[in-house]
């Protein structure tokens, strides 16, 4: 059920950037928003704090506030209005001992 959802149609020759999602390296293109990165990676952004169901943003224009996420350094960012940069470390699930 959690699989890539956004599909590129053009603009594929942009410089590549690399960030990490839950500790794993993920490729993106310069100019991708964090929402695009996550939706092309595995199709979700965060767990709802109320029922644990996955969310993946909604309005994509900075209005609904459904796509706030956290970087490893504690920074809080809105995925749909933040352009991805090399080295960003998105943490959706904290690291565990297993």
């Amino acid at each position: 059920m959690y699989s890539p959802r956004f599909h590129r149609i053009a603009e594929t020759d942009r410089p590549k950037i690399v960030l990490t999602v839950d500790g794993r390296p993920v490729d993106a293109a310069d100019g991708d928003t964090l929402l695009t990165v996550l939706m092309r990676h595995d199709g979700w952004v965060r767990d709802s704090e109320f029922d644990g169901q996955r969310r993946a943003g909604f309005c994509a224009m900075g209005a609904c506030q459904d796509c706030w996420l956290t970087l490893a350094d504690g920074q809080r960012l809105r995925a749909c209005t933040t352009v991805a940069r090399t080295g960003m470390a998105i943490v959706r699930k904290p690291a565990t001992h297993d």
Partner: protein, 465 residues
């Protein structure tokens, strides 16, 4: 003039919020009159939502991004480029609140305040949403969001998306997706075909826009995409790799499968700042919503504040350009400056035509109030706080709730990060139908500071400096 610290009548401090069609034309008009303006915008690049520009690394030509509107988009962007050095332009800056004649700003540099003598609100609009059970799942986006993903990111939300809701954007965006290589599973309009026919005489006041709408529908049908009227979405379920949308039509239940869903029932103005400032609002019956009171030129009830573009009611991008210029002329008049009378009359004529067209759109594509009243109890209404329609239906009689802010206080519907931007219209419908009261009597959700989330580190920056 109410504010006490105006620097001088010769150098009024003018702030414009929003760098879309209304904000840019307002800035241009004021600069032409020799005034300096501060133009504040949340986006990194000017253009607003309709003429939004992708990040600089994406280089598709204007024709690919804006289609029939490419000429207008390019004209607006080049007007801005000419203005750029003459204005104090603040991109990527959120106005998160206001006090008296001061705006509270937040950007990556931290938080600041600026004072104004005159303020033009050109804050635009967002999708007006009619919720459906299951709409919080990944793969469901607002219609406008689906368009942003296409224009700003050169991506599709899905290869077989379902477009559901009502309004001219439903057809425009489904067509844009078709052209971009997607195959829409269906276009489901909650409005009736008869309603669209009744609206034709008014829509014919802007024949070019009407013809475009008919063209999109014809082009979708020609490719075999089902375009259905009077289709009321009920729920979205994830099944295998699909999202299955259940809808009722003529009393029967149907299903359609796709890999994404785009939902939208017209647009709603971003009026939170007008509210915080204390502008008077009036109930606007055709859109079943409260709108800031303003005169033909955009003067709000406050002497300092002017309303331009979709902020004052949804009239579209062309009217936003005219309304931005008109609001600027109103500022000039109120500052005791002369204004070009011929231009003013032309702009007012343009706005009158836009008003008739707008009333046609409201007739053709009404917000689906009866569908909302019929939604199942397990439908999440407030995405932020996960409040269901059933939660509201239980609380309303238990606490004798008759007013929206009471509803919010008790159920937390509209209390989350979006401040009811997304659920507000539908929550009004639920409260009105549960209490058998006219929609205007339930009131509207109050705006609160901060208007959008502000990161905590910005407050630390300010304390340290």
């Amino acid at each position: 003039m109410t504010d006490g610290d105006m620097t001088s009548a010769d150098t009024p401090r003018i702030a414009i919020i929003g760098a879309g069609p209304a904000g840019i034309r307002a800035a241009e008009t004021l600069v032409e009159a020799g005034l300096r303006v501060t133009l504040i915008d949340e986006a990194a690049l000017p253009g607003g939502q309709i003429y939004r520009q992708p990040p600089p690394t994406l280089r598709r030509p204007a024709k690919a991004l804006y289609g029939f509107e490419a000429g207008k988009a390019e004209a607006l962007h080049s007007s801005f480029a000419r203005l750029r050095s003459a204005i104090d332009y603040r991109p990527e800056t959120l106005v998160w609140g206001a006090r008296d004649n001061r705006l509270l700003l937040s950007s990556r540099a931290g938080n600041t305040e600026i004072a104004f003598d005159k303020l033009i609100l050109a804050t635009g609009a967002m999708d007006r949403i009619a919720p459906v059970a299951g709409w919080t799942q990944p793969g469901v986006y607002s219609l406008g969001g689906a368009q942003v993903v296409l224009k700003h990111q050169a991506c599709l939300i899905g290869k077989r998306p379902i477009f559901a809701g009502t309004g001219p954007l439903l057809y425009l965006i489904a067509w844009q997706y078709l052209r971009a290589g997607s195959r829409p599973a269906a276009v489901l309009d909650t409005g009736s075909f008869a309603g669209q026919l009744r609206a034709l005489p008014r829509l014919a006041r802007q024949p070019r826009t009407l013809l475009k709408g008919l063209y999109f529908t014809a082009a979708l049908r020609a490719k075999g995409i089902p375009v259905l009227y009077s289709a009321l979405p009920a729920r979205i379920d994830a099944r295998d790799d699909n999202l299955v949308l259940t809808y009722t039509r003529n009393g029967r239940s149907h299903e359609i499968a796709g890999d994404a869903v785009a939902l939208g029932s017209g647009l709603k103005p971003e009026t939170q700042l007008a509210e915080i400032l204390g502008c008077a609002f009036d109930f606007h019956s055709p859109s079943r919503s409260y709108l800031p009171r303003c005169d033909r030129m955009g003067r709000s009830s406050l002497a300092t504040t002017y309303i331009a573009g979709d902020t004052g009611g949804i009239r579209g991008a062309d009217a936003a350009e005219a309304g931005g210029a008109l609001a600027a002329l109103a500022v000039l008049e109120d500052l005791g400056r002369s204004v070009p009378e011929v231009r003013k009359r032309q702009l007012l004529t343009h706005m009158r035509r836009a008003e008739i067209f707008r009333s046609g759109l409201e007739l053709a594509f009404a917000y689906p109030a009866p569908a909302i009243a019929g939604l199942a109890d397990d439908t999440v209404l407030c995405r932020c706080e996960n409040v269901t329609i059933g939660d509201l239906r239980a609380a309303i009689p238990q606490w004798n709730i008759t007013e929206m802010n009471r509803l919010k206080a008790i159920t937390r519907c509209g209390m989350g990060r979006c401040q009811g931007r997304v659920c507000g219209s539908a929550a009004m419908e639920v409260l009105a139908s549960e209490t058998h009261a006219p929609i205007e009597s339930v009131g509207r959700l109050r705006g609160q500071i901060p208007l959008k989330p502000v990161v905590g580190s910005n407050f630390e920056t300010k304390a340290a400096s």
